[in-house]
Symmetry: C2
Subunit: 552 residues, 2 copies
């Protein structure tokens, strides 16, 4: 490692993941302030929500700042293959066009995404072996195996002439993860001995005491649960949680059940896992169509849909819309996943539909069917004890998680703690940690097939229409500017009882206004206000109202 | 009690509460099928949700069936004063116009609602003493004290010539409720000895093992928590949970803090409690404006907003929009309530805003700050052992809760178990329990100030606009039916990039279509389809699209 030049700085710039669990996008910059070289660690999506971002399934960060200096962006380095860490690559890579680095399983998943987006030939993905190192510019980035809820999760030791950052990625400490490497605790201890300038660390479970629990203990519980069931069994889990799929498949085999995968991403992730050398002991699968011919006690369906996603397998099964899979009285559905905030009503809706058909439900509310993939407080304490960073930088959390994480770090006597906001440039070295700059940051909504900056307000206006409906008014005027017919009104999402008072107010307004002057803007605004005022009086709400004038 | 006539039947008709936690509306009918007399037990609202019912705060049942035979509806009998049990009275009482019965605290809350609705003079509320009995028609309804999370919760023993129904209302078994009567377990045992035909029972917590826990144990925990805090403290709780308010106030007094109530309903419920004889030992309050002059360690704010409700006190405080109350670094906010499904994102949003201002957050996720008011499985088992009903009728739950409750009842050897659906007439006697009829049932949305039947689809269309936006098209045609100008298009909630392709498709369609024939309907439909097709091609979504033609 070279010595630092006089003006060199090491900075951290989050463009996502600070303030939300999702959309992880972290940039590290090195060099003098006017000529920093950057590496990007993770490039993920945030999932939208019908209540707050109606019609938006995915959100990605606006990385304009880095795109404008993309000749200085040396690499995207992925810690693991979860959507909130790599899902934005197909959307954002074209703005950076830099090399991508990942371990074999993650690389395979990224390549699948690039392929779907027609970018496979252009975007180079370099496979890094587990424990391998990526050297770009002044950065030397070592992959350190850790445990999480997907194959090949990694922490990164980001070494620079000004010090080493431990970027944990998503992690937990599972003494028996059942699949893949255990956490390389020795590596973290050694790193601590070597000296860690800053630890940039997962905050997801900082509110929860104790430990997240081991996949192996969960396996025993699931085996017992599955052994006690007589009818068809559907298990919903994240398809990326390959260890969980393996656990469930082993429980099925123990009781003579054949396993059918239901849902596209189940096939995608098991194939990727196999090609990366995992799932060697996975049982032979049966096609979902064939499975329907087996007696109920011989079937186990591994399904997508643990979050009540609209098009996922279990959701369609619950709605009786699945082509091959039916569940009914005597059957069971196991939801082997947490309830992600914002998804509760959708999940419960699926469970209620299944319940109404006589399917017994097993979920985290009532049974031990899931362990988290993120570190609870005892695990965080261990990691801090190993790494002994000079600076703690909580990321990967909402503000409440990051604040709690910061308190924990302070209580563990970490000398400096910084809670960064998306878009803040945090100088980690030299000197005390400090925000030295703020760059453009906002969210981009993936709206259907179109990328729309959140600040344009398209989604916000849809949300307003969801609450208060829409009124459209067209006024036809002649050459003299006078209306030649009654205005045309359109109401959508407005109760019938509101239509007449609004029409009357609009007609009156147009009639009174037009003869006085032909100022179109004034007529439009007066009409709009008359309509909204009348709606508020009749209804208590002000619909979004648009007025157009056509001259003939 | 008279003997039953030959054709007499006792039936149960839920018009809410079966399939949802909320909107409790239960009718019991007695008499021959063509001339049943009815009593209504509870008349509550369901809270809407921005994701599934945007713009709707309250939902009530359509009680058309009972309204059409209102001369046979003898009474509304309220078990307790929660919104989901009495909140619909102002909306539905005018359709029934029957006497209302309630214990003193509940009566006071109902009267306040009737007063707000201008119905106080018309709607008679009869106060029933605790343990009292209401006799109407063939029904004799005895109030039995129980514990819950509000003053004066009651189970009802509904006695008829064909047997007794135990209608539990909302309940838990709290050995030390801190306020009001403990559960009258002797009364439930005696009722069991006397013989219970059916138990209609709360299903909220059937998924949860063990017991819900005592308010007294929680008090110790809250006192300890509050004792350890140095700055301002804001506690958010349901204002109807008067015992909780008392607990918090006592903890405040212990540490020399003055209590200020923040939020309108805090004042409403403490006043009602005092007028009904509770809170005799409640400390003197300080006005929220005056409290700002005290040093931080001398203040405790009792706030509305535990569910992140938009206009509640703590929500406004978090947004820095409250007139008198400010929180900041060193202060603490305690959320002493459960996270009701569907409210999580709103609650977390408030917590994140407070966190960002340096306020420390204490909530059910991380601390013992709440006990539920509903019975967990051990409590349900006790009640079944006391009452020993012949028929178990789970209500007050989603389908998954009711199904779990039904399984529990079967495991306890209850001979008959019936899961009713809203609108089903369930014959409880004579003979085996059976659905004998199905009556009109649907939900009514309180939309602003207007009541709209859900089946009209106004809310559904708003939800669709939330997802896919709106396109309005006006075509001006002359006497010959030919367009005299380009069509006028309005887009709302549709990304800019979609406008041009849609305009082009609409212009082309109108140009090609009009000369051929002047069939307005066909032109409108063709235009609508052209617009939606073009939007789908450009965007992947089909907006709600309306076309109007104006002839000049």
């Amino acid at each position: 490692m070279n010595h630092p030049e006089r003006d060199d700085e090491l900075v951290f710039l989050p463009l996502g993941g600070s303030g939300e669990i999702g959309m992880n996008f972290n940039a590290y910059g090195y060099g003098p302030p006017d000529d920093r070289k950057w590496i990007v660690v993770d490039c993920g999506v945030l999932f939208g929500n019908e209540a707050t971002t109606p019609g938006i399934e995915l959100i990605v960060p606006d990385i304009k700042y880095l795109a404008e200096r993309r000749e200085n962006v040396l690499a995207i380095i992925a810690t693991h293959a979860h959507e909130d860490h790599i899902g934005a690559i197909p959307y954002l890579w074209p703005r950076l066009r830099c090399p991508i680095y990942a371990t074999p399983f993650t690389a395979r998943i990224i390549e699948g995404k690039l392929d779907d987006a027609g970018l496979f030939a252009e975007a180079p993905v370099t496979r890094v072996p587990l424990g391998g190192t990526v050297s770009v510019g002044s950065f030397s980035v070592e992959y350190i195996s850790i445990t999480h809820s997907i194959p090949e999760p990694n922490g990164l030791a980001v070494r620079t002439p000004l010090g080493t950052v431990l970027h944990t990625g998503d992690w937990k400490l599972d003494p028996d993860p059942l699949l893949g490497e255990p956490t390389d605790s020795e590596a973290f201890r050694r790193l601590g001995d070597e000296g860690v300038l800053a630890m940039v660390c997962d905050s997801t479970n900082t509110l929860i005491g104790g430990e997240s629990g081991s996949e192996a203990v969960l396996r025993d519980s699931l085996i017992e649960l599955i052994g006690g069931l007589a009818g068809r069994i559907a298990v919903a889990a994240f398809s990326s949680n390959v260890a969980r799929l393996d656990t469930v498949a082993k429980a099925a085999r123990r009781y003579g059940r054949r396993v059918a995968l239901v849902g596209r991403s189940m096939h995608k992730f098991t194939a990727a896992a196999r090609s990366a050398g995992y799932l060697r002991d996975f049982p032979d699968l049966i096609d979902e169509a064939e499975a329907a011919n087996l007696p109920p006690h011989k079937i186990l369906y591994l399904c997508t849909g643990s979050q009540g996603e609209a098009r996922a397998a279990l959701t369609r099964i619950a709605a009786n819309e699945h082509r091959h899979v039916r569940l009914g009285a005597g059957d069971a559905a196991i939801f082997s996943a947490r309830i992600i905030p914002g998804n509760d009503l959708a999940i419960f809706d699926v469970q209620n539909r299944l319940s109404a058909q006589g399917v017994e439900i097993f979920s985290v509310e009532s049974h031990f069917v899931h362990v988290s993939g993120h570190p609870c407080r005892d695990e965080l304490e261990k990691m801090y004890a190993w790494a002994r960073p000079r600076i703690a930088v909580p990321v990967h959390g909402e503000r409440r998680h990051m604040a709690s994480h910061a308190s924990l770090a302070r209580s563990l006597q970490v000398p400096e703690v910084a809670i960064p906001e998306n878009g803040q440039v945090l100088r980690l070295a030299p000197g005390r940690v400090q925000v030295v700059d703020e760059v453009h940051f906002e969210r981009i909504h993936i709206d259907g097939r179109i990328l729309v900056n959140a600040s344009e307000g398209v989604t916000r206006r849809r949300r307003s229409m969801g609450v208060g409906g829409f009124i459209g008014i067209t006024i036809v005027v002649g050459k003299n500017g006078r209306p030649v017919a009654d205005p045309i009104l359109m109401f959508e999402g407005v109760p019938d009882a509101v239509h007449q008072p609004v029409c009357r107010a609009v007609f009156d307004c147009v009639r009174q206004h037009a003869p006085r002057r032909d100022d179109r803007e004034a007529l439009m605004e007066a009409t709009r206000r008359a309509a909204r005022r009348a709606a508020e009086k009749a209804w208590g709400k002000k619909p979004i109202t648009r007025v157009e004038i056509v001259a003939i």
